[in-house]
Structures are given as C-alpha cells and as structure tokens.
C-alpha cells in the first residue's frame, strides 16, 4: 500500500506544479474551453441533424443518444485534462533524448510520463458534458439512484483506463518510428467508434471493438447504466477488457522502452 500512496503523493505534486504553470496563461484557458466546446457542439449538431430524419438509431432515441455522446465527451475531457497531455509528449521526449531525465528519476517512467502535465480547460468542458447528461435524463424523465450514479462514476474510470491503454500503445510506437506525431490522429480516428451505439455494430466489427479493443463499451456501458440500470454481464466484460487492454499497453511500452537510446552525447 505504501508505494501506492507514494505515487499518489507524487501525482498530486506534479498536478500542483502543472496547474501553476497552466494558470500563468489564463487567456489560453478560456480560448481552449471555447475550442473544445465547439467540437462538442459539433457532435450534438450531428445528432440533431440525423434525428431530423429518423426517430431511432439502433434502438436509441435522440435524448438517449445525447446521453451517450455526452458521456463519451465527459470521459474524453477528463482524459484530456489529466493523462493525455503527458502521453502525447513522449514522441518528442524520445526524439530529443530528453527521456533521459525521466529515466533518471526514482519513480516508474510510465507513471512520470503519464502524469507530468495537466490541462485545466477540459475540466470545464467535462462539467458542461455532465450538465448535458442531466438535461437529457430529465427529457427522458429518468432520475438515477445513488448506486447508479456511483457505478456510472466507476465505469467512467474504466473508460479512462481504455483511453489510456490505447493512447499509451500508440505513443509507444515512437520507440520504433522516429516521427510518430500521426498517432494522435490515429487516436482520434479510432475513438470515433466510442460514440457509436453498441447495437449499431454487427459482425466482426462488434466482436473486435468489444473484446480486442473495447471501444464500443467505453461510453455505451456507463450510458446504458444510467438509462437502463445495473447490468452485471456487460459491466464485468467492460472491466475485464479494459484491464487487459491496460496491461497489454503497459507491456508494449516496456518492450519499446528497452529499445530507447539516448539522442544526446
């Protein structure tokens, strides 16, 4: 238990340092809130346009789809605030040889890289996503119970772990490819799957994105928990697959790290 608290303390120190750095550029904070918000509005506008032509998509009504999209946004924004900024810096660290400074520190390198940065702007957008979820639930006349809300919170953490696993695996490619900036584009491209209703997918697509890369579960399972209540099977499947994905990604990172050669003299 002691190592866990040690890492938690380290993370809090890193967060405090990163927050101080972020708050030095207040205007930047507001600008990025608007930018991220515009992408969320884009997704909601898309839902609105499609539902002008149909009443239901794969059994999901318009407000249900909004719960799904907003849940996806919530997970995405928390991930963008806490873990993503550090991970996307890895290609640059490897290319410039600055990873040396991370490796010299007495803490796991994966942990240090993942938690070194913080973006405060996305947290404001995460709050907006929660408000949208609440409004959509009101439209559906659903008042979730406290256990449902707590379970929703736990599943959001599982969603974060899935995002983390995929991006960690993608940025670890940088140990093999010199310029791996495209992986970020890959991350955004692949995560479009998370916004799809699970019932819309069929065949190999559904199997692959449920068991191998559980993207169809990331936002679907938390949203379904709020909408339809506790469903043990899908929840256990989600927890199992996201943990497996995280373990594989961590292993891939370690294999890549062995290839690292400092770029400096």
């Amino acid at each position: 238990m002691r190592p866990f608290f040690h890492l938690l303390r380290l993370w809090l120190i890193q967060l405090r340092y990163a927050a101080t750095r972020e708050l030095a550029f207040r205007a930047n904070f507001f600008v990025w809130v608007i930018v991220e918000l515009s992408w969320f509005v884009l997704q909601l506008a898309f839902v609105d346009v499609v539902y002008q032509h149909v009443d239901s998509i794969a059994g999901w009504s318009r407000p249900q789809m909004i719960v799904l999209v907003a849940t996806n946004q919530l997970i995405q924004q928390i991930f963008t605030a806490f873990l993503m900024p550090g991970l996307v810096k890895l290609p640059e660290l490897v290319r410039d040889g600055k990873l040396d400074f991370v490796l010299l520190k007495p803490a796991p390198p994966q942990f240090l890289i993942s938690t070194s940065q913080l973006e405060i702007g996305p947290l404001a957008n995460a709050l907006i996503a929660i408000v949208v979820v609440v409004f959509a639930l009101q439209e559906l006349h659903i008042t979730p119970s406290l256990p449902s809300i707590l379970l929703y919170g736990l599943l959001i953490v599982a969603g974060l772990l899935t995002h983390y696993a995929l991006l960690l695996a993608l940025v670890s490619l940088t140990f093999w490819i010199v310029q791996a900036e495209s992986v970020l584009l890959g991350y955004y491209s692949i995560f479009q799957v998370a916004r799809l209703p699970r019932e819309a997918a069929t065949g190999w697509f559904r199997i692959f994105f449920t068991f191998a890369l559980p993207l169809l579960l990331v936002a679907n399972i938390p949203a379904a928990t709020l909408l339809h209540g506790f469903q043990i099977g899908p929840i256990l499947l989600f927890l199992l697959t996201c943990l497996t994905a995280a373990l594989f990604a961590s292993l891939f990172f370690r294999i890549g790290l062995r290839r690292y050669q400092s770029a400096s003299s």
């Binding site: 930047n28 600008v31 990025w32 608007i34 930018v35 515009s38 992408w39 509005v41 884009l42 506008a45 898309f46 346009v49 499609v50 002008q52 032509h53 149909v54 998509i57 794969a58 490619l173 490819i177 010199v178 310029q179 791996a180 900036e181 495209s182 992986v183 584009l185 890959g186 491209s189 692949i190 479009q192 799957v193 799809l196 209703p197 019932e199 819309a200 997918a201 069929t202 697509f205």
Partner: protein
C-alpha cells in the same frame, strides 16, 4: 519574378524528400484516414435500417459521398503546413527564407503541393483497399464520378484550403500560439464544410446559409460535385463562390504578410 519561379520545382523536390523522410508517419496517417469511413458505414447502416432514403440519399450514395470525401481530403487538405509556418515565424527560421529571391506564398505553395503528392501516394493503397472492401458490402457508386466538373472543384478546394491556412498561420506575427485558432477553424470546417455529414441533410434555411460560407467549398462542394449530385447551375454558382473565397483569402494573406513583416523582428544568427 520569372527567375524565382524556376526555383519552384526545386522547392517542390526538397519538400517531397522532407515528407518521404518520415514515411512511416505518413503511412500511419494514411492508414488511420480510412477509419472514419468504417465508422460512417456502421453508423449510417443503423440509421438506414428499415428506410430506403434519408434526405436525398440512399445508403450507397451516402457512403459514396464519405468515400469521395476521403479523396478530397487527401488531395486538398493541408497537413501541418499551418504549424510549420507558425514555427518559422515564431522561431525566426523565416529569416533564411526572407533572404531568398522567392515570394513566400509561392514557396509555401510548392511545399503544400509536395506534401499533398506524398500523402496521396501513401494514402493510395489504404484508400483503395478500404473502397474495395466496402464495395463488397455496399455498391459504392465510384464508377460514375463526374470528373469533368469534379476536378476543377477539387483543385479549387486545394487553393481555398491553402489560402485559408496561410491566413491563419500568418496571425503568428501577432499571436504567441495559434493552435487554439486553428482547432476552432477545424471544427467549423468539419461542421459547416460537410465533413461530418453532407450539407444537404441540413434544414433548407441552414443549407442555404452554409453555402454562403467558405467552408462548404472545402469539402462538401467538391465531394458532391464528384458524386454528381449537383445541378449545372448550382455547380456554376459553387465554382464562382469557391473562386471568390479563394481570391479573398489570397488577398487577405497578402495583406497579413505585408503587415506582419513590418512587425517582424529577426533576432539571432
């Protein structure tokens, strides 16, 4: 001026070599570019369940639109030209370019062209493969593309996107970090440009309004023209709007460049 134009093929060649130096990065980018088509197929198949048409589209014609959109994006969308220009201004590497007897816009234009050519080559196989696989499930209507009217619209889109990118990048003379501005415009391009859905799925008033903005002529107009879903009079209107917006952004870029240079301070060796 004529002498400086003869340097353009060399700039193009250097740009091409620079792009190919990071071919894995390009290949990854091209591979991931097919992903939105796959997602569109799954999503729209569910939307069309029990329905023959949605707006003016059948499932096959809508997926053809998304497939053509990928080609339009490959040919006409700048990759990271905006960030490159911004870095040149911010870090002062613009100094060495200013000393050359070559207009900056043309220099960047040649690099933009080389980037598009390299990307198109890298994207060719993943795109062809995804079209082939998708056409086994849905009869894509790629055989009947309107190339005579589509290619001018495609080239116009490349010119429009390049000139808009140039304008955004040149704000680096005044702004420390332009990434927020760029991502904000990206989101507008995606929504109002017909990247997320074809613009003719919008309610009529919004559709008419979208056609007044430049974004519609970046993606929707060339893609819809290639798909053959635009009447001749609408095409003439579109090509005029596209040229007009491109000219506007070229003039704006010229003005920003002149004003920016007056503010620019070259420091360091």
């Amino acid at each position: 001026m004529i002498t400086s134009l003869t340097a353009l093929p060399t700039v193009f060649s250097i740009g091409l070599q620079r792009q190919l130096a990071y071919r894995w990065n390009y290949l990854l980018r091209a591979l991931f570019s097919a992903m939105p088509l796959l997602v569109s197929w799954v999503f729209w198949s569910a939307v069309f369940q029990g329905k023959e048409t949605v707006g003016p589209y059948t499932l096959a014609s809508l997926l053809t639109y998304y497939a053509v959109l990928l080609v339009v994006e490959s040919v006409s969308s700048p990759a990271d030209d905006d960030f490159q220009i911004s870095r040149e201004i911010r870090e002062g590497t613009l100094n060495s370019i200013l000393l050359r007897p070559l207009p900056y816009g043309l220099y960047r234009g040649a690099l933009f062209l080389s980037g598009r050519c390299a990307y198109l080559v890298a994207a060719l196989i993943p795109l062809a493969l995804s079209f082939f696989l998708l056409s086994r499930v849905i009869p894509l209507q790629l055989g009947s593309l309107d190339l005579a009217r589509g290619i001018p619209a495609l080239l116009g889109s490349a010119l429009l996107q390049f000139s808009l990118t140039l304008c955004l990048s040149l704000t680096s003379f005044w702004l420390l970090d332009i990434s927020a501005l760029i991502f904000l415009v990206y989101s507008l391009e995606f929504l109002a440009g017909g990247h997320v859905f074809p613009l003719d799925l919008l309610p009529p008033t919004l559709f008419q309004f979208a056609q007044l903005l430049p974004f519609a002529y970046e993606y929707w107009f060339p893609a819809a023209t290639l798909c053959g879903s635009i009447s001749h009079s609408a095409w003439l209107f579109g090509i005029s709007m596209q040229s007009g917006w491109a000219l506007f952004f070229i003039l704006l870029a010229h003005f920003l460049w002149q004003a920016g240079l007056r503010k620019y301070t070259a420091a360091g060796g």
